[in-house]
């Protein structure tokens, strides 16, 4: 190990910053420098190394939380509980994690290595969010080849960013001398060292390669001279000559293992058809020959730059070899229950059939624990191999539904499932059948009767052959029945869902059924029961980090309906507005139209008639697009009438005695959610003065309530005039 006080000093300087960025091309000793520095700190360390498969916020934060949990068991527990469910919002677990770290109290360094692999916008946004919420006791170090898009500019401007970049990371001649002469013991002159450093431009990986190579040649001085006079790309040249110095078997092993990137001895044995990989790896690691052990038990990687050239060489010798190795690795990992890694290798093997098969075999784990990974891989595949894997198609449709805002994709997947049903009936399982139908019921679409029929069939199939889908099927069926106006049947289907013996482990279906129970109870005027069910739905989803998801939006909508019936219009509007945002999509959906109708109603009741009208018009457009004339359309017609009446009432008669400026100031705040004392505080008035202004406003406008006053002010445009100066 070369001592690099220069580099440690630069990292020390970062103690004052929020974020330290260590950026440079591969092989600049970034990881080594940070690891070495960390080992001398009196701080706990959470280290995460990413790869291209980690482009999913849920997985990214699962790794981070797991690493933090290793610092002290339990630190990452709450965050981990909230992760790993489809559609879960990422801020909640990040908040949990940051709170846990803050409560830990001691210094913690979090290192995110190879962050260039993370390119997904949502991932980077989640990191940006985390950087903004880091507790005082935490330092974040990012190691990357490319500057990540996480608002570095503003961090730099505020002095919260420390940077260690290529120029600083490159070896100076003195450091090169330390590496090659003092450590490796070569008898090289200052001039020869200079040649090496110049030729490699201080690139540490190239100098390390040079050292490994010089160690194996008879005449190092002559080799340096030859190297100095060569024009080949340094890493190319050095990898080549270094591999040349190895025996055939070692060379073959290194080239093949390089393809795998990350591996265990067992994986190498299985994939490369050997039995001695453990010994080989240990020997190469001891010889410091580009093999490094990873944090997590038994996994290794080959130095990435060397691996690139070794793989290139293997490909030049045998063009088909890399794909074959990836294909065998995919099978081996899939058989050992590691579908996420298996999928990555299958993708690199370019074997779409194998990829589809892995998705089919492991669809349930990928759906429930893989975030949107399943959907993303399904997107990359052509129809043909997928048609044989209906389980994967339908599970991906569930993911698309639960993410919200993916209606078009969900419909594409359902059409594909239909094709699979007719074209590959032998592989079309009861699970796929039940799930395809339950997704139809879930989204309801324009014809609730058809959705209910699909839901009913989904329930029958699940009862016979796919119990894991039963609660979700019953919940979807109940919701379709509710939209079809069959309240009694909706009630009993939802009740059957929550009476399932395994209900505690079926959070999604459970919450969905509870939301429907709340809606039915509210329709029947049983407000107490309705509230209980809506709150329970929310509690269940909160427990699994799904509060802000499509299902969470459903729970919010149910609670919104209950709040309307309780007369709490401001609170109802908040819940409904949230749900409306989640349901918004590229195409009209019944759920979204329904939310717009409810929002129009609540806005009308709050006296904001113009807004109510606009919202109702949007709802009407979506209902027309859907050609829906059922329950939601009837509700829309009622709300439109209500808005019209409110407008007529509000514009009735003239205002002879306009409110004074002081009264107008009060009137403006009556349109808000503030209470009378709060209005007083805002305007520096006593509550009694506010009440007397209010009475005077009511008299002048000829109204009897706060809502009517706001509506009338809206219609008469009383509040649009600029406030007169005091």
């Amino acid at each position: 190990m070369v001592e690099r006080p220069r580099i440690s000093g630069a990292l020390d300087a970062g103690n004052e910053a929020t974020l330290t960025l260590v950026a440079g091309p591969p092989g600049y000793g970034k990881t080594t420098a940070v690891r070495e520095w960390c080992s001398r700190q009196e701080a706990a360390l959470a280290w995460v190394t990413f790869d291209a498969g980690d482009n999913d916020p849920a997985r990214l934060w699962t790794y981070v939380a797991t690493a933090v949990d290793r610092v002290r068991q339990g630190l990452g527990r709450l965050a981990l509980q909230r992760l790993g469910f489809v559609g879960a919002p990422i801020e909640a677990p990040i908040d949990e994690l940051m709170n846990a770290i803050a409560s830990y109290g001691q210094r913690l360094v979090i290192v995110l290595d190879d962050l260039q692999s993370v390119t997904d916008r949502a991932c980077l946004a989640s990191l940006d969010y985390a950087v903004g919420h880091l507790p005082e006791n935490t330092r974040l170090i990012v190691i990357t080849r490319t500057d990540p898009a996480i608002g570095l500019g503003s961090l730099r401007a505020s002095g919260s960013l420390a940077e260690l970049r290529t120029d600083e990371l490159a070896f100076t001649a003195a450091e090169g001398r330390q590496l090659l002469v003092e450590r490796a013991g070569f008898d090289l002159s200052a001039e020869e060292i200079e040649t090496l450093c110049q030729r490699t431009e201080g690139w540490p990986a190239a100098l390390t390669l040079a050292s490994a190579w010089l160690n194996r040649v008879d005449d190092p001085q002559a080799a340096v001279v030859e190297f100095g006079g060569d024009h080949r790309f340094v890493a190319d040249y050095l990898s080549h000559v270094t591999l040349e110095t190895l025996g055939d078997d070692d060379r073959q092993f290194l080239m093949q293992a390089s393809v795998l990137e990350r591996f265990t001895a067992e994986l190498c044995d299985a994939v490369l058809g050997r039995t001695d990989s453990g010994g080989m790896l240990a020997a190469l690691e001891r010889a410091n020959f580009f093999v490094a052990r990873l944090e997590s038990g038994g996994w290794f990687r080959i130095h990435s730059l060397f691996a690139e050239f070794a793989t290139a060489r293997l490909r030049a010798l045998d063009p088909a070899a890399p794909a074959e190795i990836h294909g065998r690795a995919a099978r081996w990992l899939a058989d050992r229950g590691r579908p996420i890694e298996a999928v990555e290798h299958a993708a690199k093997a370019g074997d779409e059939g194998a990829l589809a098969r892995i998705l089919g075999e492991h669809h349930f784990v990928l759906m429930t624990k893989g975030g949107d990974a399943l959907l993303q891989v399904v997107r990359t595949l052509p129809d043909e191999p997928l048609l044989e894997q209906a389980d994967a198609i339908t599970s991906a449709a569930v993911v698309a539904t639960c993410l919200g805002g993916h209606t078009l994709e969900q419909r594409r997947l359902l059409r594909l499932a239909d094709r699979a049903r007719t074209e590959s009936p032998d592989t079309f399982s009861p699970w796929a059948d039940a799930v395809a139908r339950l997704v139809v019921a879930l989204s309801v679409d324009a014809e609730p009767a058809r959705a209910a029929a699909a839901g009913r069939r989904a329930v029958e199939i699940a009862e016979e052959n796919a119990d894991l889908a039963l609660v979700a099927a019953l919940a979807a069926y109940a919701r379709a029945l509710y939209f079809d106006g069959r309240l009694d049947e909706a009630w009993s289907a939802a009740l059957r869902a929550i009476e399932h013996p395994d209900i505690e482990r079926r959070a999604s279906g459970h919450a969905h059924a509870r939301s429907t129970l709340a809606l039915v109870a509210a329709d029947r005027g049983h407000l107490g029961a309705a509230r209980k069910h809506a709150e329970k739905a929310r509690e269940i989803l909160g427990g699994v980090g799904l509060s802000r998801s499509w299902l969470g939006a459903n729970a919010a909508a149910a609670l919104g309906v209950v709040l309307i019936d309780e007369g709490s219009h401001p609170e109802a509007e908040r819940e409904l507005a949230y749900a409306e945002g989640v349901f918004r999509d590229e195409v009209a959906t019944l759920h979204h139209a329904w939310l717009l109708v409810l929002l129009a109603y609540v806005r009308c009741r709050r006296g904001r008639l113009d807004e109510a009208e606009t919202t109702a018009r949007l709802a009407r457009e979506e209902l027309d697009e859907l050609a829906h004339d059922g329950r939601v359309a009837k509700l829309a017609a009622e709300v439109e009438r209500e808005i019209e009446q409110a407008r007529r009432r509000a514009s009735d008669g003239e205002v002879l005695d306009p409110p004074t400026p002081a009264e107008l100031a009060v009137l403006r705040l009556l349109a808000s959610e503030l209470s009378v004392p709060e209005i007083g505080e805002q305007l520096f008035l006593s509550p009694n003065t506010v009440r007397s202004h209010t009475r005077s406003i009511y008299r002048k406008l000829g109204v009897n309530s706060r809502t009517e006053a706001v509506a009338r002010a809206d219609v008469l445009a009383l509040l649009e005039r600029p406030e007169s100066p005091m």
């Binding site: 591969p26 490319t146 690139w203 790309f233 890493a235 080549h240 990435s304 490909r315 030049a316």
Partner: protein, 65 residues
């Protein structure tokens, strides 16, 4: 596209579809790039190999889709 250092033939398959010409310590890679995605992939390869990119020029601009 011109990168620093002369690349060996072993790396040719890595830049499939590109013609490599070596001269005076640099390598010139010439080839048709269909779209931005392919271009980004190519730049990614350059970065993975630790190559220093000296210049990148678009030719036949009117041919681009």
């Amino acid at each position: 596209m011109i990168v620093e250092g002369e690349l060996s033939d072993e790396l040719s398959p890595t830049f499939a579809g590109m013609t490599l010409t070596r001269e005076g310590g640099t390598t010139t890679l010439v080839g048709r790039v269909r779209d931005q995605a392919e271009l980004q992939g190519l730049l990614q390869r350059v970065s993975d190999l630790g190559l220093t990119l000296l210049t990148a020029t678009a030719k036949d601009a009117h041919d681009r889709r």
